[in-house]
Amino acid sequence: MSPALETLAVSAVLLPLFAGLAAFVIPRAARLVGVGTAVLLPIDAALLAIRVADRGVEARIEIGGWPAPLGIGLSIDGLTALMLLTTALASSGALVYGSRYFARTQRFAAFMPLALLLVTGLNVLFLSADLFNLYVALEIVGLSAVGLVALAEGADALRGAMRYLLVTFLASLLYLLGVALLYHMTGALDLAAVAAMLRGARVEWIALGAMTAAMLMKSALFPLHFWLPPAHSSAPVPVSALLSAVVVKASLYVLLRLWLDVMPADRRLFGDALAALGAIAVVWGSIQALRQDQLKHLVAYSTAAQVGYLFVPFALDSPVAVSGWQGAAYLVLSHALAKSAMFLSVGNVQAFGGDRISQLDRVVQRLPLTMGAFALAGVTVAGLPPSGGFIAKWLMLEALIGERRWWLAAVVVVGGLLAAIYVFRVVGPAFTKGVLARPPRRVPGTMEWIAFALSVAAIALGFTAVPLLELLDVGAPFAAFEAGAERR
């Protein structure tokens, strides 16, 4: 266990944690601390990723030197490194944008600490190898996310935050129930230890069912999606970016780890059900996005649709499943960057003077960077080449067709088409005259450039597939699916 890797992993948690605390205790330093973290965290995540790729095998850290079952273990494989990278990139964009967005309001003093604590919670979650650590991380993420949503003024945001809190609290309790039952059956909390001791008893199925339901609620998978559009569309824009980019994926990550490490062998029906829900989410979310006039609502429904894609690979149950899951992981990264870019560019348009499609008054001429960002992000969301989204969808389609899942493959393709339609619904009117809600105001340059940079990064992911997929392979996180074919 090389010290450098351990240091990098632990810094990924301690840096945003101390930064958040500092931002809270010394409000004057909040901006410096936030931007500093935004610069340092991606460097830390990138170094970690390089280390992990070099090392080639999964790494385990025992906190304080205490081994399981008493101690808490962290584990780092390719998937963890990728998720840490995603969080770092998306959050650094949101942090810098937020430092400008809230600059002249009182909310700034609350945004930085909450956002930094959210990032801390996310990093803890991705590093955890222990059921209870995951619970604590889920709570940190959930509560700070609720606080962030409530930062926006107005009844809509408060109601959205309240609903989100109720849902997330209930989901956490269900997850805890699952942990309790698994602990009772196996006497362990460490993921690897629990996996070794499961016997397929009915209680274990119930526990996993409860935990799955909990994660579905937190990820807003259809039909448990009802809290997402109000919360994501009424939250302040950098908050929406963080929520859509990473927070909804965090619970999917937990579910994936449970499935890969802990699930019993015969899970075909369960997997098909999840994939079906995912497919419905893709179609339903995209259609709802098409119907929206308000920009933020459109982007929020787009998130609900994209989350659906991430559940489709659950239906796969053979060696090609690995490439399906690689596609999903790649989609997580691409979507995080693209969706952040989308929300941030919508935020720019709002700051400029309108928040509905009908109010896009020649925005292309007046905010070219912003509309460019939105369009490029749209390319990724629709899955057009060359972009990260294209690579992701290609991998998923390859796997689906390899297993002859024609309906699911068709949904993936149709989803891309629908996404292109709703992106054009925004980009088209941006060229024409509209009626602004209020006189146009200047949009700070930082805000425009951050949105643009994120969208370019999403496109750039279309060219970096090979090294990232190699990184993802470290520790063979999806190996359980390869074994699935032999077990049947």
Partner: protein
């Protein structure tokens, strides 16, 4: 039914009662209380599933789980109550209307200014 079976059954009963109340009542205070009851049910199940050490002393891991759960529930409840007060201040009612089937708050044209 032995005394030992009482705890898990009571825990599950509390969880179900809490869920039912959460769904049925509209007022936020009741929803928050319902979630707390569900939480207590979960903690009871944790305790019921505890595995005592061979020498008869209590299970420290289960205790740690319950204590952490209680602390988290307190924090979440505090946040929920604060939000409820703010919602009541802004809208005059401490209720968030559940979307009716087939309609949700973000259908076109329905957004608040």
């Amino acid at each position: 039914m032995s005394m030992d079976a009482l705890y898990p059954f009571a825990g599950v009963a509390l969880i179900v009662l809490g869920l039912e109340a959460l769904i049925r009542h509209e007022h936020l205070m009741r929803k928050i209380l319902a979630l707390n009851i569900t939480g207590s049910g979960v903690f009871l199940v944790i305790g019921a599933g505890a595995r005592p050490a061979p020498d008869g002393s209590a299970d420290p891991v289960a205790q740690a789980l319950i204590i952490t759960g209680i602390v988290v529930a307190i924090a979440a409840t505090a946040l929920a109550l604060a939000l409820m007060v703010r919602v009541a201040d802004e809208t005059g009612r401490a209720e968030i209307d559940a979307p009716r089937p087939g309609e949700d708050e973000s259908s076109p044209g329905s957004a608040d200014p």
